[in-house]
């Protein structure tokens, strides 16, 4: 899986504009929407990420310094996303602690990014709510009628209407 491509797909689906900027060492995916902007950096290894994230952040900010200076409050909404497919669990936690560094940009730093789902989970702070449960009508009556196929329909109709319990019991006795 190409992390860059998957990230761009997700971001574009979420109404971000995305493009790639080739920095000195590696490509960077830039993204921006009405409120946020940022850069996605992908590293081959956890060590590479831990060793280069600060520099990469700095390079990206420096590259866009002029634009950011004119962005007003939006300049506070810059995200630096650092991702690596490396599954070194020990370093994974160290990488995630990068997120607690609030200087310059909001960071998203994750290791073990190997599936599209991993990319989506990492980019969740940038995306709208993904889960949209469709809780339609429960069709209780229809389901109950289907379930009660051995009960005479008249009795089920009486049960589902305003008929009194005693009358329903009578109908059940008369029709069972």
């Amino acid at each position: 899986m190409d992390i860059f491509t998957k990230a761009e797909i997700l971001l574009r689906d979420a109404q971000y504009e995305t493009w790639t900027w080739i920095a000195s060492a590696s490509p960077v995916t830039c993204f921006e929407n009405a409120a946020l902007m940022g850069f996605v950096h992908v590293f081959d290894s956890a060590d590479g990420l831990l060793g280069a994230w600060k520099e990469n952040q700095q390079i990206a900010l420096a590259r866009h310094a002029a634009s950011l200076r004119g962005a007003g409050a939006k300049a506070w909404n810059v995200y630096s996303v650092f991702l690596t497919p490396d599954q070194d669990a020990r370093r994974g936690r160290e990488i995630e602690r990068i997120e607690e560094d609030f200087s310059l940009t909001r960071k998203i730093a994750r290791a073990s990014i190997t599936t599209p789902d991993d990319v989506e989970k990492a980019l969740l702070p940038l995306l709208s709510i993904r889960s949209k449960p469709l809780l339609g009508a429960s069709n209780f009556e229809t389901r109950l009628r289907t379930r009660l196929k051995d009960i005479p329909p008249d009795a089920v109709t009486a049960f589902l209407s305003e008929t009194t319990p005693a009358e329903i019991a009578r109908i059940l006795g008369a029709t069972s």
């Binding site: 109404q15 504009e17 493009w19 830039c30 921006e32 929407n33 009405a34 409120a35 902007m37 866009h64 634009s67 950011l68 004119g70 962005a71 007003g72 409050a73 939006k74 506070w76 909404n77 936690r93 995630e96 607690e100 609030f102 909001r106 989970k121 969740l124 702070p125 995306l127 709208s128 709510i129 889960s131 949209k132 449960p133 469709l134 809780l135 339609g136 009508a137 429960s138 209780f140 009556e141 389901r143 109950l144 379930r147 009660l148 051995d150 009960i151 009795a155 089920v156 049960f159 589902l160 009194t164 319990p165 005693a166 329903i168 019991a169 009578r170 059940l172 006795g173 008369a174 069972s176």
Partner: protein, 682 residues
């Protein structure tokens, strides 16, 4: 639909009129503690429900929320009311105004119609405010700290799956009604069976009576003879006959007893008067007389011996006195040839001879006592046997006297029995005669009984047809009742099947819906990331009648017990937000949060802001009250403001007289786009 504005006057801490216009996209409200940020949430809730849930159970010193709904500070407000205005996506407004004096200008039904749709839960408006307004004090209380049953109920209500509960209680009522009808049918069936058993017994008895039919006219004559004064009506005559029969049996019984007594008396008399007994009695009498005579003779001899002894003892006493006198005289001796005792002239010889003669005489006087004593002892010994013989003879005579007395008593009791029961006296001395009299009486009673049976049997003919028709009707009735029992049993079975199915379908719907919102809960949990290790949260449902919703992290751990306070609040927020988002029964897309970041660190507060931003991206209206201005800044930057769904920021504070007012009301404009590309446009 979203909140458009809220207007309060004289409500809680707001003395003067304050109107808050909400941004269609978001509104961030800041202010210090106690300036009334929460009151704005209260006002929305009060406008919708007429109450404020967070105070619902709080009561102190007999005061309750209603005493504090309206302004109680200095000064007099111009009015006391709350207005909440909503605007539908179509642009149509819906406004609710509640005044202190007149209450709401909208009925609950109108409010329900505007703010709810589809299958809304019970107490829908309260559920609406509970799931739309997330308060600081509810984040833990309404999420992780809820009991599992309460949590289940909250989620079920939020999901709007209300049909099951209503149908469930209805199904239980139907089961109860069916069971009651069945019990009634069974009781009627059993009663009819019992009546049939009675009738069948009656039928058998009547049948037996029928077999005894005979000469009715002869029977009537017999009864007339037995009860001559009886009425002519058949039933009365039968009753009189039965009464006569009972009396006759009693009399016959007594005659039998009298016969027994008479026979016993005769037997006793025969024994008493038997020749041997007579000879015995005469012999005893003669022996008694002879013994009496012997006894008297012996007693006479004893008496005489006693008299002799008395005499001898008297003489002995005299001899003793004389002896003393002789000894005294001897000691004195002659005195001038004269006896000192009798002064007679005596010589010494004569005096000595006199003394010797006196002594002989004394000796002879004294010697008779012993003989008399011996004679008395002998007489007494001789009298002992006659006395014993007399006692024996007397006892024998007394025994015969007792025997006679007993016989007389028996005879008297016999006569008394005749007197007591009015029996004929001629039979007192004639048991055989009585026995002869008993025999025809017994025959008469047998005839009477037979006559009665014949007469009863004649009645049984007509009774039999009535009983048979009654039995036939009862059998038909039992058939119908058995069918009714079978039907009502079927009704109970069917009612129980309905109840089971209702419960199952309701449970299935809720389970399905929970399964549907589970990814949402997990997504929000992952976004808020309360815990570094446990990245997902799961739920489980158990119970059939009472249902429980458990939240689990990691390997089945309860977050309530393994999370810190801040982590619990973050997990709780995820839960409440998922409940809020899962509601399909309201068009209201406003989420109000009252200071949701207390006890949450900056990192997790940032996650919350990002979650709210994500909700904004979905077009939800976010209204959030916070204390920290920096957090308010962050929210204003991070929540998307667009040309059609703008944002607002309000700062509220207390005025000099303690009334709350809006200090700043700032519109948050959309941010520039195309910044990074260097083509920024505002």
């Amino acid at each position: 639909m979203r909140l458009d504005f809220i207007e309060v006057c004289g409500f809680r801490g707001f003395r003067d009129l304050v109107r808050i216009n909400f941004g269609r996209g978001f509104t961030v409200i800041t202010g210090r503690n106690g300036v009334g940020k929460s009151t704005l949430c209260d006002a929305v809730e009060f406008a919708i429900t007429g109450s404020i849930d967070k105070y619902a159970v709080e009561k102190a010193a007999k005061e309750s929320l209603s005493d504090y709904l309206w302004w109680r500070g200095e000064g007099v407000p111009n009015a006391h009311y709350v207005t909440a205005s909503f605007v539908a996506d179509s642009g149509n407004p819906f406004t609710i105004t509640r005044t202190r004096e007149r209450g709401s200008d909208r009925s609950p039904e109108e409010i329900h119609a505007a703010l709810c749709r589809g299958p809304a839960p019970d107490d829908a408006l309260r559920q609406l405010t509970r799931t739309s307004i997330i308060r600081d004090e509810w984040i833990a209380a309404l999420s992780l700290d809820l009991t599992e049953t309460e949590r289940f109920d909250l989620v079920r209500s939020a999901l709007g799956a209300l049909e099951g509960s209503e149908a469930g209680s209805r199904a239980r009522e139907v089961v109860t009604a069916a069971e009651a009808a069945h019990a009634k049918d069974e009781a009627a069936y059993e009663a009819a069976r019992s009546r049939l058993a009675d009738r069948l017994t009656q039928q058998s008895e009547t049948q037996a009576a029928l077999s005894r039919t005979g000469d009715v006219s002869g029977a009537l004559q017999v009864i007339a003879a037995a009860a001559p004064d009886a009425p002519t009506e058949l039933t009365a005559r039968l009753a009189a006959g039965r009464s006569a029969l009972a009396n006759g049996r009693a009399r016959l019984g007594r005659m039998g007893e009298a016969l027994q007594l008479g026979r016993e008396v005769v037997a006793a008399q025969a024994v008493y008067n038997a020749p041997e007994a007579v000879a015995n009695r005469e012999g005893a009498s003669a022996a008694h007389e002879a013994a009496q005579r012997e006894h008297e003779a012996a007693q006479q001899a004893v008496s005489e011996a006693e008299q002799r002894l008395v005499r001898e003892e008297e003489m002995d006493a005299m001899a003793a006195s004389l002896s003393l006198l002789v000894e005294h005289g001897e000691r004195l001796g002659l005195h001038d040839d004269h006896c000192p005792l009798c002064a007679a002239h005596r010589t010494s010889d004569e005096f000595a001879a006199g003394l010797a003669a006196a002594r002989r005489r004394i000796t002879s006087l004294a010697s008779g006592v012993q003989a008399a004593r011996d004679a008395l002892a002998s007489a007494k010994e001789n009298a002992r046997q006659p006395s014993l013989t007399l006692q024996t003879a007397t006892a024998a005579v007394q025994a015969h006297a007792d025997e006679l007395r007993r016989l007389r008593d028996q005879e008297a009791a016999h006569v008394d029995f005749y007197n007591q029961w009015g029996l004929e006296h001629r039979f007192i001395q004639d048991p055989d005669g009585l026995e002869h009299a008993i025999s025809p009486e017994r025959d008469r009673l047998i005839d009477l009984e037979r006559a009665l049976l014949v007469l009863e049997a004649s009645q049984a003919v007509s009774r039999m047809s009535s009983i048979e028709s009654n039995i036939s009707a009862l059998r038909a009735e039992i058939e119908k009742l058995a069918q009714a029992v079978s039907q009502s049993q079927n009704a109970v079975t069917a009612a129980r099947e309905i109840e089971r199915s209702v419960r199952r379908v309701s449970a299935e719907i809720i389970d399905e819906r929970l399964a549907q919102i589970s990814p949402l809960l997990n997504e929000l949990y992952q976004r808020l990331r309360p815990h570094a290790n446990w990245r997902t949260i799961d739920y489980s449902i158990r119970g059939d009648v009472r249902r429980f919703l458990s939240l689990k992290v990691g390997d089945g751990l309860n977050p309530q017990f393994v999370f810190s306070s801040g982590q619990r609040r973050a997990a709780g927020l995820a839960f409440l937000l998922s409940v809020h988002l899962a509601r399909a029964w309201t068009p209201l897309r406003s989420l109000l949060l009252d200071d949701p970041v207390q006890h949450i660190d900056d990192f997790r507060a940032l996650h919350l802001v990002e979650v709210l931003a994500a909700l904004r991206l979905d077009g939800r209206q976010i209204i959030c009250a916070v204390e920290d201005p920096a957090l308010a800044d962050l929210l204003c930057r991070r929540l998307v403001s667009t040309a059609t769904e703008g944002g607002r920021r309000l700062d509220i504070d207390l005025g000099p007289l303690g009334a709350t007012s809006v200090v700043t009301d700032q519109e948050i404009n959309p941010m520039p786009v195309g910044v990074l590309r260097g083509v920024a446009t505002a």
